[in-house]
């Protein structure tokens, strides 16, 4: 008797529509594009800075354009979401066992959020914003 098992293939371009959890995953992956784009912007900023005061002033003016402001808002939202998913993952990747018990995962993720907030305040202070 010849057996012909049925192979049910996953649609390569639509698989993430099967369940909201896969959409959340794709959203997390897409946010990394914004984070990457912002890194490119920083590299461009350094290049403009090294090109002299005129180039730097032109760059600063370009940063104030409506398109630039929209990009910065979108990149900030994406960075917040991406950072959130990263910090939430820390409790899975770095469990802390004390004796027989594990430290609750919320403490591990919470500590990361706290360090993030403190470092952000330090950066804003050094930059003279606060």
């Amino acid at each position: 008797m010849s057996r012909r098992p049925l192979i049910r293939e996953l649609p390569p371009t639509r698989w993430f529509l099967r369940h909201p959890r896969y959409l959340r995953y794709m959203a997390r992956e897409v946010t990394s594009l914004f984070v990457g784009a912002y890194c490119v912007l920083l590299v461009i900023a350094m290049q403009r800075l090294s090109a002299g005061p005129v180039a730097w002033q032109e760059f600063l003016v370009a940063l104030r354009s409506p398109a630039s402001l929209v990009f910065h808002l979108a990149a900030m939202a994406a960075a917040f979401y991406h950072a959130g998913t990263w910090f939430n993952a820390t409790q899975k990747a770095m469990p802390l066992q004390i004796g027989e018990d594990f430290v609750p995962g919320a403490y591990i993720s919470g500590a990361h959020y706290l360090v993030w907030a403190v470092l952000s305040l330090v950066v804003l202070f050094v930059a003279g914003v606060i």
Partner: protein, 285 residues
Amino acid sequence: MNAPFPPPPSQEGGDGGSQAMPAPYHDGLPSGRPSGKTMKERLVQLEVLRYNPDTDTEAHFQRYEVMCQEEWVVLDALNKVKESIDPTLNYRWSCHMAVCGSCGMMINGEPKLSCHSFLRDYEGVIRVEPLTHFPVERDLVTAPDDFMEKLKRVKPYVITKQKKPIEAGEYKQTPAQLMKFRQYSMCINCMLCYAACPEYGLTPHFVGPAALTLAHRYNLDSRDEGRRERMEVVATREGVWECTFVGACSEVCPAQVDPASALQQLKIVGSIDWIVEHLLPGGKP
């Protein structure tokens, strides 16, 4: 013989799409199981994927209507169908208590143990399909061969360099040492995590969540000395580095094993091993 994934039926009912389907079978009888007088019965509609490897080139859905008690699980409904309507329906099950891991199926598109899926949690037509990402042998029965082969590759057992004679006594372990890996030892090999993992569906050479989790379980065991052997399989492209942390494995796991956490920890272990081996002089992981 490739069939696309159809959308699950809506929770409000309906026929689940425009596929032509024969008229539903109906047992027309009250439940044949012993029941108390106060137990409520309900007419349950099941839409079950059927496939006969000897005669079919494609799968099709078969509709059944069966009287069930409100507190039954989907597996009970399938058993009732098999007993009273259609004895040709094929599926696996054994313990009926979420221990053996045999009765994994897609229920309304979600990987579930059918013995752990209560009818009261579903409205309308309940669509039952075999676990995704595995070849379908017949109806709801899938071929687990790929998973079994991968499970063997990670050597899921305690490896010691030297065997102790029995007279030397038992291998002792403190409660803290046990707790380090206990969660990962609860896997029942039900393969729901493989059905939920899109990485496994898209790249079948991926060793996958359950096998890698069991590798981690033995790596963490204080009695074990086989970590290096396992990491040769684990810390590879088809091993843990194929995982992009979708996290679906942990969401569907019926035993709260949390395979996603095991895989992320393995990534850290693999990275440290690589740094020690390649960046430290004379380093051996």
